[in-house]
């Protein structure tokens, strides 16, 4: 019987080899080339950092997935479980006002525990971009358009669901932070009956029901316009708190339509952001055959202030290993066909000289 320890694989790690690894590298290169061509420059984040620097920013239920270790001085460290967070701290350390706006991109592995049941989630490698120091419409549009080009490059059948944390904050502004956290969780689970129960006392039964119905909305830009017009008739209070952000989402959808990518986007107001640091638009990309969103992103204007620089930020991150099996026209990233093997019986230097000539023609040769 084989040594048990040799057979064990720790949760939250994976190895992949040969052609699979080749495709992964090619996809990574293609993504980085795209991001570079938009002026986004690469950054590398450390593999571990001080846990206390992130403790308050790690959502409930996520902290126990973080691998932690203690260094020789007794400081508690954590392995890189999310690149956005690690990046924010690094940028806080190196950027100053004069460097803004700053455009950066990354592709790197992440390390976090996954239950044995969740192992197929393949959340081991993130690629993404961050636009730091650009607030409002222009920054949001730049990132959404780059997202659209990323989906075009990967050629995956997918839909972007776009919501707004700002809309959520505006409609539920009278609630405390802890209440908002609960309502946000209920919104993400589409538990609208529970939202009505929780909000009836503060908003009134009718307005609570209308607010809950508002956040159940999923639809096209046209359907958003219809819904907004209907909302005005149903409740002046809910409409007044929501109209500014709904108008903004409508403006974004109009612009995406003009750019020719509107069909890939849906307004989904239940996408209000799962992270405490979200502040404006929030989006998730869903792909046929995948059990969770494969790309997540949004605006987080207050995240960097936790790390010493007060700069608005917007970006997205994709779970590359999860996407790779579904990439379209995969031959673009596959091993070149028709590898040439030199004659084993030939003298090796002679083979080498011949092979170099063939390689100069762009072919692959094995000695």
């Amino acid at each position: 019987m084989a040594d048990k320890n040799k057979m064990k694989v720790p949760q939250g790690s994976e190895g992949f080899f040969f052609e699979e690894a080749y495709i992964h590298r090619k996809v990574t290169e293609a993504l980085q080339d795209l991001f570079n061509s938009w002026g986004y420059l690469p950054v590398e984040t450390p593999v571990f950092d001080l846990f206390d620097a992130y403790r308050s920013l790690i959502p409930d239920g996520e902290a126990d997935k973080v691998y932690r270790l203690i260094d020789r001085d007794g400081d508690l460290l954590m392995l890189r479980s999310d690149i956005t967070l690690f990046l924010a701290r690094q940028m806080g350390l190196i950027l100053s006002e004069k460097d803004l706006p700053s455009r950066l991109c990354y592709s790197d592995s992440i390390l976090r525990h996954q239950d044995s049941e969740d192992i197929s989630h393949n959340e081991f490698f993130q690629s993404g971009i961050e636009l730091i120091g650009k607030s409002g419409y222009r920054g949001d549009m730049e990132v959404l358009l780059l997202l659209s080009q990323t989906l075009l490059l990967l050629d995956i059948p997918s839909t972007v669901h776009l919501g707004s944390h700002a809309l959520f904050n505006s409609v539920f502004s009278s609630f405390s932070d802890s209440q908002k956290k609960k309502i946000l969780k209920l919104t993400s689970l589409r538990e609208f009956g529970e939202i009505i129960k929780m909000c009836s006392a503060a908003l009134g039964g009718s307005d609570a029901a209308i607010a809950a119905e508002l956040f159940s909305f999923i639809g096209t830009g046209e359907e958003l316009k219809e819904m907004t017009a209907g909302l005005e008739k149903k409740s002046a209070a809910v409409y007044n708190s929501a109209s500014g952000e709904l108008k903004y989402l409508n403006e974004v959808m109009e612009a995406l339509k003009k750019a020719g990518c509107g069909d890939n986007f849906r307004i989904d107001l239940s996408e209000a952001g799962s992270q405490a640091y979200h502040s404006g638009i929030v989006f998730q990309v869903y792909m046929n055959g995948m059990d969770t969103a494969v790309i997540s992103g949004g605006r987080y204007d207050n995240l960097l202030s936790n790390f010493g620089i007060d700069a608005p930020s917007v970006g997205f991150s994709l779970l590359q290993r999860k996407i790779e099996p579904g990439i379209g026209r995969k031959q673009r990233f596959s091993l070149p066909s028709g590898m040439i093997e030199m004659d084993e019986d030939e003298e090796i230097i002679e083979s080498f000289l011949k092979a170099e000539k063939i390689r100069n023609e762009g072919k692959t040769v094995i000695l």
């Binding site: 049941e117 689970l189 589409r190 998730q284 869903y286 995948m290 969770t292």
Partner: protein, 215 residues
């Protein structure tokens, strides 16, 4: 052509009741010759017959996008799903039970409870600031107090007949257990129009459904 919606049904009575309801709505299917996969006659649905406790795993991984599942099983799975409808059938109660007349909670000691529902039991008592020692059993939980493994059990109680037959009684009802239509969130996002239509049809269908009419 539109892909069929992928539906997991739990083996046993819940499957029979769900099938009866769906048939009354014109969604006709059957699992022939011990097969575990079936398509409805219209081709709009594909059904998988799975073990009750495994159903959340299939839906969580998006193998089946939709499922019929009790809140007890959902809770134990630890996964988040959209619960888009609560069915009128299959409801029951999660109860604390013990030997008749023999329950006497000490003030300080941890309650010793045998149960299949370990997460629910632990969370229920921890929320009440009550320490609890949970012993995991996979079936015939009633034997726990009878044989002296643990003085109490937490289990689903419908009629109470099994409890009575083993000289046990309900000490406290802990929660109402309902049967839900659960949906994988990512699956919903990609199929929300069809799923919303199905949910509306189920709600309407249940109003005019007479249980057992299609069997």
């Amino acid at each position: 052509m539109t892909q069929p919606l992928l539906f997991a049904l739990p083996k046993g009575r819940l499957m029979e009741q769900s099938k009866d309801l769906f048939q009354s709505m014109g969604i006709d299917f059957s699992f022939d010759n011990r097969k575990l996969v079936a398509a409805d006659s219209s081709g709009n649905f594909r059904f998988f017959l799975v073990k009750n406790s495994d159903l959340p795993t299939y839906v969580n991984h998006g193998i089946a996008g939709i499922g019929v599942c009790g809140s007890d099983v959902i809770y134990e799975s630890g996964h988040d799903f959209y619960k888009l409808h609560t069915f009128s059938y299959g409801g029951t109660k999660m109860c604390l039970a013990g030997l008749k007349g023999a329950h006497n909670f000490g003030n300080d000691a941890a309650l010793k409870i045998a149960t299949k529902f370990t997460s629910f039991t632990r969370d229920y008592y921890h929320k009440k600031n009550k320490p609890v020692q949970v012993i995991k059993l996979n079936g015939s939980v009633e034997l726990g107090p009878v044989l002296g493994l643990a003085p109490y059990i937490v289990d689903l109680v419908e009629t109470g007949n099994t409890l009575r037959a083993n000289n046990l009684e309900v000490i406290r009802e802990l929660a109402d257990i309902k049967v839900h239509l659960i949906v994988n969130p990512a699956y919903y996002k990609l199929n929300y129009k069809r799923i919303n239509k199905l949910v509306d049809e189920i709600k309407e269908g249940e109003k005019s459904w007479t249980p057992g009419s299609q069997i």
